[in-house]
């Protein structure tokens, strides 16, 4: 049986010039979800709401089938979070912060923590506030994993991190998912991370979730199709997305439906190529902003 690890209903937070939500979001045990979207689309606020660092104006959040209001401590012990939570502790050294964490989390694994510290080459005598952006990210990542959480909430964990450490993070996340029924919600701008780690993709745009889908859907259903001719009927078809000329080609989000339609119109397909995730995502994100420009 799959059960929901994170479930939000009509989650809403109002700011002066921005409203996040209403957000209905769900993640099943054992899966990894990528949250993608432009800067300022509300991803970080969403994470802060999930961690109860921000209080929602409307709606509800359930984690592990429990409400945050009733069992906050119990819930938080099962979560690993990386998203600027250590900033207020900047005057402490990494070592001092680790003693706090070891005290707070019953499941803290000192040996694993030390392994990670060595693996990511962290000088634990450094004051956290004095570390560079990349080092801070690495330290946060280590702290999110060292108590063996069942859910990771990661807000752009690898941004500003060097390539070698990014690769290590990827390996550690895959390793994390290997150990049983664990889940990840991760905001990221890295297609590579989405490709290797995530199963589902949720797209944020101006405080709203505009799409949520299984990652393979793009590869399975989207295609670029080179055609011999074009008609108005094809252009009006719900699965038609875009037309390019020279040579004549269309982008479709359901090639098998489009193929039938083309056949009806007597149009032949000269070449066919499935879309990569990168192309598909680019298309989704940019077409949403194109549409909203039109609306405005």
């Amino acid at each position: 049986m799959t059960k929901s690890i994170v479930l939000t209903k009509s989650l809403t937070k109002h700011y002066k010039k921005f409203t996040l939500g209403p957000i209905d979001f769900q993640i099943e045990e054992g899966t990894a979800v990528a949250i993608v979207g432009a800067n300022g689309s509300g991803k970080s606020s969403f994470f802060r709401l999930l961690m109860n660092l921000l209080q929602p104006d409307e709606g509800s959040i359930t984690l592990f089938d429990q409400s945050m209001n009733e069992s906050e401590a119990e819930i938080k012990r099962k979560i690993g979070y990386s998203g600027g939570m250590l900033e207020p502790l900047g005057y402490l050294t990494v070592k001092e912060i680790s003693s706090f964490f070891a005290y707070w989390y019953p499941t803290w694994d000192q040996e694993y923590y030390v392994n990670l510290i060595n693996r990511y080459e962290i000088d634990t005598g450094m004051k956290f506030g004095k570390c560079s952006t990349g080092i801070k990210k690495r330290v946060e990542f280590i702290f999110s994993l060292s108590h063996h959480p069942t859910l990771l909430l990661l807000d752009e964990p690898s941004s500003g991190v060097d390539i070698v450490s990014q690769k290590k993070m990827k390996e550690d996340l895959i390793d994390f998912m290997e150990k049983g029924e664990r889940s990840i919600v991760m905001a990221t701008h890295s297609i590579d991370e989405v490709n290797s780690i995530c199963d589902w993709i949720t797209v944020f745009e101006k405080g709203q979730i505009i799409q949520s889908f299984n990652k393979d859907e793009i590869f399975e259903k989207w295609a670029r199709v080179w055609v011999t001719d074009m008609t108005e009927t094809i252009k009006q078809h719900p699965n038609f997305l875009e037309l390019d000329v020279e040579p004549l080609q269309i982008v479709t989000n359901n090639w098998s439906e489009m193929e039938k339609e083309l056949e009806k119109e007597g149009i032949a397909i000269s070449h066919f190529q499935k879309m990569t995730l990168e192309e598909g995502l680019e298309y989704i994100i940019s077409s949403e902003s194109r549409n909203s420009i039109k609306k405005n």
């Binding site: 895959i174 290997e178 199963d199 990652k215 393979d216 590869f219 190529q273 499935k274 990569t276 995730l277």
Partner: protein, 134 residues
Amino acid sequence: MKLPIRVSEESREPIYHQIEAQVTSLIVGGQLPPGTPLPSIRVLSNDLKCSVITTRRAYQNLESKGFIKTVQGKGTFVKEMETEKMEETKQKVVMDAFERAVTQAEQVGLTAKGIRAIFDNVMNRREKGEEEGD
């Protein structure tokens, strides 16, 4: 434990089906003998850049067809298979490949006669190649 399989961008078949077909070929072809451990669903997903939903489906199908078995806590392994079933599967794998080729030939408008001519052509070239010790 990296499997020599890949997901094709040109193929119209669903990814889970591609994985299933390629693993089956490796098993009946003897490249993956009985008892060989297979990568976990998560690791295979990472290698192929697809979601666990897809790889899980491929593994479930392979398991229900009796090619692999999952041992709780130990992983997934290639299953022992009877010779008869092995032969049957070999036939089927090749038959499926021909079916796909014929479908493609029909799509580009070839007649049965044209398809046979191509088949003969390919076979002739192969036989010649073998004689020359290619």
